[in-house]
Amino acid sequence: MVRFESATLSRAGGRSRNEDRCGSMVCDGAACWVLADGLGGRVGGEIAAQIAVDAVLAVFRDDPRCSADVLERAMEEANSALQREQAAEPRLAQMRTTAVVLLSDGSSALWAHLGDSRLYCLQDGWIVHRSRDHSVPQSLCDGGRITTEEIRFHPDRNRLLRALGNASKAEPALARDALLVGEGDVFLLCSDGFWEYVTETEMEADLACAMAPGEWLDRMEDRLLRSVAADHDNYSAIAVFAAADRGMNLGESSAGFAPASGVKGRVVKRQRSPAGWPVCLGFGSPGSLAVRSAVGREQISFGGEVYAD
């Protein structure tokens, strides 16, 4: 069993509105993180993203398990919720969103995505998995026409091949086999406004410095801000660190992370968002439920005992 500590970052960037939404939930010893990037150029991007986040968390709340079945239903429900809203509100008929979802029960993890929001999994400091975007540049890359690096800033990078909100069924890319989560494993969910400016090597380098997920996001955000253009896209990221539920060896060879400062056995939230940003709700006792949507910058951690057998 591991305990998780996570942090969320979501900002408008150079745009007037932030159409990215992040959410997370801890429920009955399992946790769900979700990030959605409402498609720009259409009315209701932020509404679509919010509907998707809410729908995914609602499915997880009703069935808080780490299973492919839950993931699939969550994505399908998000798609249906969008279709209902599109039908009810004609001006929102074109709204679409990406989504990436991570589920874990402390021993295994599963994820799914649609569109070009990404999930990275890092083990022992290396990126061992990146979700493949449902986008034209990713297809060009898969066909050997461009390199992985050239996906960033490709002229067709806004052309998505799949998204939530289409009339058809949602077709998420879904990991059927759960990953066994170990101490030191790290997940990063992020929108394209984030990963375009932070290379994989930079993610790994900044992770080597960070003892907590918020610190990792801070460093990567500093990089992003150093290189962005004035009108850069919204950027969002959720960092999830898995740490053993005991004291950590912080020695140089350790792949572990600092113990979360949360009170053991209780789900604890640490809030570090800048003044003025909406403050998220606190969490209750183990096994209880919490729903949040994140804006700005915040951190949560929850103790290992929620996972106790």
Binding site: G14, E204, A205, A208, C209, D222, L225, E252, S254
Partner: protein
């Protein structure tokens, strides 16, 4: 893992070389096994007083501090402790004034220096950085900056990101380049470092340099200068920086360390590497890569001519009474009309007109690998000043002198 270092330095168009650099000793195999191999640069703050002396003192204290690392101390701990010790030395020198070769520094002087160091051991990299000097990873033909520079720009960018100020205000702020942390303040504000080792791959190079390089060259230009040979990479970076023709080119210093896997990595090296490394001809035999030998031979002739002033500087150092740590002669006093910097930030660097006649770049013969298989003294040597260059390697008292035929 085998480490192949390279370095180059130039005074730019300044009156004085305020950058210092140094490598850790590779003579003591026992030390190298737990301490690895360290390369560091320090950039004395021209806006403050005695930038040259500050960076020299910081470099010396840092390398000596790291040389005291025990096996029980982790590399990140040792790097941080050494940086703190270097800070204390710079603070003390400013407070109490200099002595000996630094007697020109009056008590109460404001001194400041950046410092960035990279330590490589096995397949792991650790860095420590204070100020705005940079450490890069060269991998897959791309340079990635690893450290986070301590400039006020970071604070401004964050303020703009949360809407406290506009992006234009952040970008046009006059103190953008000011340092938010540097050696020379009683309380070291920030230290950038990695706590977990960063994994190295075959063919990676670590590049450590001062802002004289990356403020003149774009990251694309820097990438274009990089090649397989760390020595050639350093020289190309210096050449391209100078070729950019900045009228007020700052001092520039570059170190590069290539990480190369070898058969039986992690085991004691099968071949003795120490013998005769001090002799240039033996350096050749240490180089296993034939291609590099060719490059080395070709560049050797060029270096012999280019590094003559460096050799002269070396001869001066030879005559210096110190053992273990060499110092350059005291600097001539300089007119300092610059206003005192605001607390917490670094004043704009002193600009100087283009000096008549450029100084030579300095170099380090390649192939001086960081395999510490021999036991000898653990003396660390600091290299600094106009064109001085040195790297200790293998048995023998001195590294090959620049300009000496290979």
């Amino acid at each position: 893992m085998r480490y192949v270092p390279g370095n180059a330095q130039h005074i730019g168009s300044r009156e004085e070389q305020e950058d210092s650099f140094g490598f850790s000793s590779m003579e003591d195999g026992g030390f190298v096994r737990h301490g690895g191999f360290v390369g560091a640069v320090a950039d004395g703050m021209g806006g403050l007083e005695h930038g040259r002396e500050a960076s020299q003192a910081a470099m010396r204290a840092f390398l000596c501090g790291y040389g005291r690392k025990q096996e029980t101390e982790s590399i990140p701990e040792a790097l941080e402790r050494s940086v703190r010790e270097a800070n204390e030395v710079v603070v003390r020198m400013g407070r109490d004034g200099g002595a000996g070769t630094t007697a020109g520094i009056a008590a109460g002087s404001a001194l400041g220096s950046t410092l960035v160091a990279a330590a490589l051991r096995d397949r792991s990299l650790y860095w420590v950085s204070v100020g705005d000097s940079a450490v890069y990873l060269w991998r897959n033909r791309r340079l990635t900056q690893l450290n986070c520079p301590h400039t006020f720009a970071r604070v401004l960018n964050r303020r703009a990101a949360v809407g406290e100020i506009s992006r234009e205000q952040a970008e046009q702020h006059p103190d953008r380049e000011a340092l938010t942390s540097y050696l020379g303040e009683p309380m070291l504000r920030e230290i950038d470092r990695n706590r977990r080792g960063f994994h190295l791959k075959q063919g990676d190079q670590i590049v450590v340099c001062t802002d004289g390089v990356f403020k003149t060259l774009s990251s694309e230009q820097m990438q274009a200068a990089m090649g397989d040979s760390p020595q050639r990479s350093c020289e190309a970076l210096v050449e391209r920086t100078l070729a950019a023709g900045e009228i007020r080119q700052d001092n520039l210093t570059v170190l590069a360390i290539a990480a190369e896997c070898e058969p039986g990595d992690g085991e004691p090296a099968g071949e003795r590497t120490g013998e005769g490394l001090a002799a240039g001809s033996t350096v050749m035999r240490q180089v296993r890569n034939r291609r590099r030998v060719l490059i080395l031979a070709l560049s050797g002739a060029v270096l012999a001519a280019a590094a003559l002033p460096g050799w002269r500087a070396w001869r001066r150092l030879e005559a210096a009474p110190h053992r273990g740590v060499d110092t350059a002669p005291p600097a001539a006093p300089q007119d300092r009309s610059q206003a005192a910097p605001r607390p917490g930030v670094r004043a704009a660097p002193v600009k100087a007109p283009l000096a008549a006649g450029s100084r030579a770049t300095t170099s380090l013969p390649e192939g001086a690998s960081a395999q510490g298989t021999t036991a000898a003294g653990t003396a660390l040597r600091v290299s600094e000043g106009k064109a001085a260059t040195q790297l200790q390697s293998g048995v023998g008292t001195k590294m090959p002198k620049p300009g000496e035929p290979f």
